[in-house]
Amino acid sequence: MIRTHDLRKTFRVREKGLFGPRLEKTAVDGLDLLIPPGRVTGLLGLNGAGKTSTIKILATLLRPTSGTVTLDGLDLVEHAREARRRINLIAGGERMVYGKLTGAENLRYFGRLYDVPAPVLRRRTGELLDLVGLGHAADIPVERYSRGMAQRLSIARGLVNDPAYLLLDEPTLGLDAPIARDLRRVVADLATEGRGVLLTSHYLAEVEELCRHVYVIADGRHLAEGSPAELKAATGSHRAVRVTVTNPSPGLTDRITGFVRGIGAEPQLAPTADGGLLVTVHHPEDIAGPLAGAVVGAGGAIGGLEVTEASLEDAILALADGSAGPGTGAGTGPRAAPGPRSGAGAGAGPAAPTSAGTEVAA
């Protein structure tokens, strides 16, 4: 497994111009991560949170300023070349394949860079092109590929050395929905085959679908971790129940409000375009039935009922805003004192969401 301990990366950048004073910018600040085989692990954060720097360190492209990174016990800094045989990187924002070469030529060239024996490489080239659905385009120069095809070839390139660990930095960036769905299926299969996958993505539904464990970072620091369901629960991101009442009256509204407050929530009331009333209630439990019963019991007529599950996006935004309520166990607010956390090194299984107690970038 890939394990980082107290990982830090500081860049020295000039404030302005060629001769301006140099400032230190901390991109990664004491991260403990664990990427076990056979699982897709998510790494989430807002722009500038340190995701890409972290991935580049894990890919041996950057050296950490301090802290350790090991891959199956191998120090990634001291044994970078050996580690590179077991990992690969796919970055959605970069092309990472040669436009003037065909798909097959690209894979054959990168295979040689990984010292893949020629007979294995010949077989693997065909298999990988078929895996990403490019078997028909093997002999077409990549510059004539669509963006989605080039991205799928990039995925195949990332598998050319049969890596034990795959680092995916925004792999579906800018792809059409059907192509992104196909790629998600490939990624899920890779983990099922036993590979360790680290995934960063701005598409939180994608992370929610693929990742069994997610790290949330902000300003390079650990903010929370857990399964998507645990993160949602821990941040108080609840499912929403929306009931449209077609015959609202002041008395009816009071009785509905009383019922909702009685179950520990606060209703959001909004008139609808056709003179009705939309009642929205956020609650951790499934209260659709009791709420509908209360409306009917108070003499109301229901024009519509909708239940929306809480999303990981809600949870991440809550964490980033530092708005997670007290007692949720994650993200105790932007000014919370540093608290203990179980850390990534605690084990490979889903850990309870924990708080780093850091200042959160809004």
Binding site: E94, Y109, L113, Y114
Partner: protein
């Protein structure tokens, strides 16, 4: 050397699909104009004779032969540097540097493969320039083929070594034009390309001696113009190889840091 061979084949294929004609024609025209204008200057202005002090400094009166060798060597140097030193920054610009660096292959075989392609390509282009010189009736009066081949190989090694250092500088700076043109200017002024560098002031001559192209040019001129054999040229040949090895070592030492700096710049 599977990586070097794969890189050579890859670059050959890619270049074959998009040969940079404008670059090649531009470099060829520079050489053709240098020789052509020298031909006109010698016959229309100089009356077909050269100054005594040129003869004294070069050991011969064959001005056009001197110019043709210099123009050919300069074209060789420029074209080789353009290909080899820009290998990594080209990867960076086309978005493939990360994919290259994350692979375990060493950088030396990669650069050797790239330079092997550049050598094959450049030899053909310089051959075309030689053909133009021959059309003007320019000949090499006393050529020692073996020593000349050693001179070409020494020049290729010198340029390769310089290109590794220059390539590292380019990916750190994130630009190619200023750094490559500075080197081209220094080579053309200091290394005895179009005039003997004994015309230069002492500090410039000392600076010229730190560039392996200068000693490689001495070997080439000795072999092509003066009929000097390998034994006579050995001291300058060794100087070129020693300086080249120094530049190569320096380049390979700074390259890993330069690559990390290039990745950091994109953070």
């Amino acid at each position: 050397m599977p990586v070097a061979w794969a890189t050579l084949r890859r670059t050959w294929t890619m270049t074959g699909r998009a040969y940079p004609w404008s670059y090649a024609v531009g470099c060829l025209l520079t050489g053709i104009l240098t020789i052509g204008l020298s031909y006109l200057a010698l016959h229309a202005v100089g009356g077909g004779t050269v100054a005594a002090d040129f003869t004294a400094r070069t050991g011969g009166a064959d001005y056009l032969g001197y110019i043709a060798i210099g123009a050919g060597a300069f074209m060789f140097t420029v074209r080789m540097l353009l290909w080899s030193s820009k290998a990594l920054i080209t990867e960076q610009r086309q978005g493939t540097l990360g994919a290259l660096l994350v692979a375990p292959a060493g950088r030396l075989p990669y650069l050797l493969g790239f330079t092997g392609f550049a050598l094959a390509n450049t030899v053909v282009e310089v051959g075309l320039l030689g053909g133009f010189a021959a059309l003007l009736g320019i000949t090499l009066p006393a050529c020692q083929p073996l020593a000349a081949l050693a001179g070409v190989l020494a020049l290729a090694f010198a340029v390769f070594a310089l290109s590794v250092v220059l390539g590292a500088l380019m990916i750190v700076a994130g630009e190619a034009h200023i750094s490559q043109n500075t080197v081209f200017l220094a080579v053309s002024l200091l290394c005895g390309i179009t005039f003997p560098n004994s015309y230069l002031p002492e500090p410039a001559r000392l600076l010229a001696e730190t560039l392996p192209v200068t000693s490689a040019m001495d070997v080439l001129r000795g072999a092509l113009s003066h009929g000097a054999g390998l034994a006579d040229l050995a001291p300058r040949l060794l100087t070129c190889l020693a300086l080249g090895a120094g530049y190569l070592l320096l380049g390979l030492l700074v390259l890993p840091g330069a690559e990390r700096r290039a990745i950091e710049r994109s953070y």
